[in-house]
Structure formats: structure tokens, C-alpha cells
């Protein structure tokens, strides 16, 4: 399934978000089950499937990381997140340190500002990697694709970490 084609877009990492949202609304309306209330069972089923594809496609395309993964899939690049372990020592060491900082933050004098400063560091790294990823995805040779896949793997660690920082922040603000 090519979600870019479904949304009438050329596969690209940079997308027009407002345009994507507008197309989504349109396709949602066109395939909404309510419109097919009196249709045949077969047409109802087809509309339901299309509607599900539209929803899945929107989720995939609107988030930069899953959009990049989808582009690589369409190029036949196997990401194999389940099988492939990351072995980049320097990157993993940094991940370890950040996770230690996250653990230590709750014992800091001002836990919220400790978390905020950690979050800023992680966010800056995410921004840097996303822009590298965008540049790599403009190429489509094997080497660029492999490097892009590697960046996608790295970004997964960073987004997970950021999510954990948010959970900690929420827990602290719950007083």
C-alpha cells in the first residue's frame, strides 16, 4: 500500500501538512460508513476497508518518523527493527547517559527544570537527526537508503526517551 499515492502526493519527506489534513478530511467524508448505509453489503465492505486505509495512511504520513519509514519501505528497504540490534557504541553510550540523567532528575533539587533541560538536549538531537534524515531521503541510492534506515533506528531511541521524559514530567506535575 502506497499511502502517498492514496493521498495523491509525491513521496517526499517534506510535506504540506495543511494539504495533507485537508485531503484526509475529504477522503474521510468520501469513505465514511454513514454514506454507505443503504449500499450493498459488498460496497459497504469496500468503503469500510478504504476508510481504514485512509485513517492508517494519515497516521503514517503525518508523523515524520513513520513517514520516513514508509518511504524506505516503498523503496524496498527492510528496516527489521525486531531482528537488528544497534551496535553504534558512541550513540548507545549517549543513550545510557541520558537515561541515567532521567533517573537522577527526580532526586535533583528542582526535578522539573532538570527534566526540562534534558528534554531540550534530546529535542535538539532529534531536530538535528530529522534534518539529516530529510537530506538523505532526497537521494535514493542504496548507501543513502541504508544511512537513512540507520537514522530511523536512532530516532526510535530518541522518541522513546522523549516519551519517557514526558511521562516523568506528567507524574511530577500531578501534585
Amino acid at each position: 500500500m502506497n499511502y502517498f499515492a492514496l493521498f495523491n502526493l509525491t513521496p517526499s519527506f517534506e510535506i504540506d501538512k495543511a494539504g495533507l489534513a485537508a485531503t484526509y478530511q475529504q477522503l474521510q467524508k468520501l469513505t465514511h460508513p454513514d454514506k454507505f448505509a443503504t449500499a450493498s453489503e459488498r460496497d459497504k465492505l469496500i468503503a469500510l476497508q478504504k476508510n481504514a486505509q485512509v485513517n492508517d495512511g494519515y497516521q503514517v504520513l503525518k508523523t515524520p518518523l513513520s513517514r520516513a519509514e514508509h518511504m524506505l519501505e516503498l523503496r524496498g528497504v527492510e528496516l527489521q527493527h525486531e531482528q537488528k540490534t544497534m551496535q553504534d557504541g558512541a550513540f548507545l553510550m549517549q543513550q545510557m547517559e541520558w537515561r541515567e540523567q532521567l533517573d537522577d532528575a527526580q532526586h535533583a533539587d528542582d526535578p522539573l527544570s532538570a527534566l526540562e533541560s534534558l528534554d531540550e538536549d534530546v529535542a535538539a538531537d532529534i531536530k538535528r537527526l530529522l534534518s539529516e534524515l530529510g537530506a538523505l531521503l532526497e537521494q535514493s541510492d542504496d548507501e543513502s537508503n541504508e544511512n537513512a534506515a540507520n537514522l530511523v533506528r536512532k530516532l526510535k531511541f530518541l522518541f522513546k526517551l522523549r516519551h519517557e521524559i514526558e511521562l516523568k514530567e506528567d507524574a511530577l506535575s500531578d501534585f
Partner: protein, 126 residues
């Protein structure tokens, strides 16, 4: 999802948590990560002159299965030669801990951590 008793035991009482000085020549360090879930694992082995693993420590940021897998391998590798240690496979780990299919990648991570540590040791002792 229900964890097996063995996973819960290792999770609640993890064995050999901590680390050694990675610059010590007898210490091998394996760092690995699982993109699927963002887990990060550090496994360190203290290796004697005859290539026997004398001690092992780990630090893992991840789910219960990842922590249990790394805790288990620190117990398994002690007393083994590095050549035997790299023969520990993810299926051995998954079987011992009764990991469900969605958690198999945690056992792959632990297997790869042993391999990465041994690789690090060989690089230090070329």
C-alpha cells in the same frame, strides 16, 4: 501481558547490576540497543588470563523481559570461556524465561550483548 515467574524473579531481584571500569584491559564491554522498543543494554565481562569469564555485570534500560534476559546471561556466562559464552543463543534465553513471541527481541539483544562484549575484548587483545 503476563510475565513468567522467572522473568518476574529476575526483574524484582536482578543479579549483577552495575559496571566495571571499561578502560581496565581485563574488562570487555558490550553495548547494544533494540530499535523496536528503544531498550539499551550494557553488558560487561571480567575476563581472566586464560579466557575464562570471572565476573559479569549489566545495566539495562528497558522492559522487564530485557532486564531479565540480561540478568540471566550474567549468571550464565560466569565460569564459561569466551568461546563458550558466545554460543549462548537467544533461543536458550527465551526458552529459560518463557518469553512470548513479542519479547523475543529482548533475548536477541542479550545474545548480541555477549557477542559485542567478546568482540570488544578481542579488539583490546589483538
Amino acid at each position: 501481558m503476563a510475565y513468567s515467574e522467572k522473568v518476574i524473579d529476575h526483574y524484582e531481584n536482578p543479579r549483577n547490576v552495575g559496571g566495571f571500569d571499561k578502560n581496565d584491559p581485563s574488562i570487555a564491554t558490550g553495548m547494544v540497543g533494540a530499535p523496536a522498543c528503544g531498550d539499551v543494554m550494557k553488558l560487561q565481562l571480567k575476563i581472566g588470563a586464560t579466557g575464562i569469564i570471572e565476573d559479569a555485570k549489566f545495566k539495562t534500560y528497558g522492559c522487564g523481559s530485557a532486564i531479565a534476559s540480561s540478568s540471566l546471561v550474567t549468571e550464565w556466562v560466569k565460569g564459561k570461556s569466551i568461546d563458550d559464552a558466545v554460543k549462548i543463543s537467544n533461543t536458550d534465553i527465551a526458552e529459560e524465561l518463557a518469553l512470548p513471541p513479542v519479547k523475543i527481541h529482548c533475548s536477541i539483544l542479550a545474545e548480541d550483548a555477549i557477542k559485542a562484549a567478546v568482540e570488544d575484548y578481542k579488539k583490546k587483545h589483538l
